[in-house]
């Protein structure tokens, strides 16, 4: 069982305060697959990744990665597990006091005893994969938004992790980089025998790329299936999401009092 599913999330409930953000989530990520988590803004995708990475402890339920219960590990065991995980943060989170190259080399320096010449080659290879070898010596403040995300991506795959979590890898990318990054995610996954979780709003790209889709809504998994099942699904809220329709069962607005009353309250 533990060999077939790299990640198992069982009945996980989580809230930052009283308000529950994740409500009884169940989800598995099979070994070697690329799984997408989609859903509206604010539905708890980033939170879910944090829970899987052990950065947040669930109020209830269990998260297993590679057969180990993440929320019951000691600090040192958690760190040992994290060495084999990579996470691309939604806002990049590059170290602003280091160049692109230093950012990518960071984990190699921290966790390995490789000689400097090999670290240099490895880091340049990662940067080459995202098309930014030429930007190796630029500081994060000198990068454009899309470039910064690609450097962050190169950094997150630096140690060839067994589990990759990408939080919105496609935002801010032009169509060409978007396609390249999509292929890169797939290729890395397949050539390294890794497993990937991709959080994204980019439905078209995701349906091309992934093996399986979880669609979240208000802290719950509302739909799951293969890309073909998603395209064919009759679920109206999912249809609305996939085809980007303004009208449908999913409200665009965060819950608020009546608009008219709010405006003319005086």
């Amino acid at each position: 069982m533990a060999t077939s599913n790299l990640v198992e999330v069982q009945n996980v409930t989580f809230g930052y305060d009283e308000r529950q953000v994740l409500k009884d989530i169940n989800l598995v990520v099979p070994q070697g697959k690329v799984v997408a988590i989609m859903g509206l803004s604010g539905c708890g995708k980033t939170t879910l990744l944090r829970v899987i990475g052990g950065a947040l402890l669930p109020d209830r339920g269990e998260v297993r990665v590679a057969g180990r219960v993440v929320n019951k590990l000691s600090d040192s065991e958690l760190f040992a597990l994290r060495r084999r995980m990579g996470m691309l943060f939604q806002f990049g989170a590059l170290f602003t006091d280091m160049s692109s190259f230093e950012n990518v080399a960071f984990q190699m320096r921290e966790h390995t005893n490789l000689p400097e010449s090999i670290i240099r080659d490895l880091a340049l290879m990662k940067l080459q994969a995202v098309g930014l070898r030429g930007a190796a010596d630029l500081m994060p403040s000198e990068l454009s938004g899309g470039m910064a995300r690609r450097v962050a991506l190169a950094r997150s795959i630096a140690l060839d992790p067994m589990l990759m979590m990408y939080d919105e890898p496609f935002t801010g990318l032009d169509p060409i980089s978007l396609g390249v990054i999509g292929q890169l995610i797939r290729r890395l996954n397949d050539s390294l025998g890794a497993t990937s979780i991709v959080v994204t709003h980019d439905v078209a790209e995701a349906l091309e790329l992934v093996d399986y889709v979880y669609y979240m809504s208000a802290g719950k998994v509302e739909f799951q299936g293969t890309p073909d099942q998603v395209r064919a699904a009759g679920l109206s809220s999912l249809r609305q999401f996939v085809y980007g329709e303004p009208d449908g069962p999913v409200p665009f607005h965060y819950p608020a009092p009546d608009y008219r009353q709010d405006l003319f309250a005086q």
Binding site: G53, A55, F79, A80, R82, R83, M85, M87, F89, F91, A93, L94, F95, T96, D97, F106, Q107, E110, H111
Partner: protein, 258 residues
């Protein structure tokens, strides 16, 4: 009336407990973790060297210039007073003792808090606000070991050196004004100083004092940064608190040290 008074006392107590005792407890735990995770700061000393450059070397200008001027003022005012009692040759003693024992560590500490302490707080606070610290944790690197401890040790190492330079510069400033400008006898200026300043009683005492100040200021700075709310206001508030708290703590420690 008594009800209102009780209310007031209770509110005051709650504020003190929440703002001071509670935070002091966290700060102590934080210091303990920092000390426990200090291995890499020394094993990979280049991490600490880099921070010594930012906290120590970049503070040099302000420390040297202030030291010179404080010494010059001491020379001028000291001469003014001493000459009334006909003992202007003791100027060297006055200048050097006030600097080495008191002013050096304290003024250098205050300057250090506002120059380097605030920078440390702002940097760590911003790293937290931009998720760099969380990212580091996700990469299985402890931010306390990698970010906090090297900055802490850099501050602790820099501060006594800066205070010593401040005092040296001050003595030189006193010499410039007293001997060069006013014309106190050069020989007695230096020989009296040499005779009166005791290495253990005065110099070593000053060094220990500045070491304690360095620990206090850097501890406050790294803690405030690490504890800052991850927003722009949060970081700016923490930076202000670093300077205010360190100044108050330095003043308190100064009288404690008498």
């Amino acid at each position: 009336m008594t009800g209102r008074l009780a209310e007031l006392v209770r509110a005051l107590g709650a504020r003190i407990v929440d703002n001071w005792i509670w935070r002091l407890g966290f700060a102590c735990r934080f210091l303990w973790f920092t000390l426990k995770e200090s291995g890499p700061s020394f094993r990979r000393f280049h991490l600490t060297i880099r921070e010594i450059y930012f906290t120590g070397v970049l503070s040099l200008i302000i420390i040297l210039v202030s030291g010179l001027f404080v010494g010059m003022v001491l020379g001028l005012q000291g001469y003014d007073t001493l000459v009334r009692y006909g003992s202007s040759e003791a100027l060297g003693v006055l200048v050097s003792l006030s600097l080495v024992r008191e002013l050096g560590p304290v003024v250098a500490g205050l300057l250090f808090a506002s120059r380097a302490g605030s920078a440390i707080t702002a940097e760590i606070g911003l790293m937290k606000a931009t998720e760099q610290l969380s990212a580091m944790e996700m990469m299985a690197v402890d931010p306390i070991a990698r970010v906090v401890a090297p900055r802490f040790w850099a501050g602790v190492i820099s501060m006594p050196l800066l205070a010593a330079l401040f005092s040296a510069m001050g003595v030189f400033g006193g010499y410039l004004v007293g001997v060069r400008l006013i014309g106190v006898d050069e020989g007695s200026f230096w020989s009296q100083m040499q005779a009166a300043v005791d290495f253990r009683e005065d110099v070593l005492n000053g060094v220990i004092k500045s070491l304690v100040f360095g620990i206090a200021v850097t501890w406050i700075a790294v803690y405030e940064g690490y504890d800052a709310p991850p927003t722009a206001e949060g970081v700016s508030g923490a930076t202000t608190r670093t300077v205010v708290t360190s100044s108050l703590v330095l003043t308190a420690l100064m009288f404690r040290g008498r």
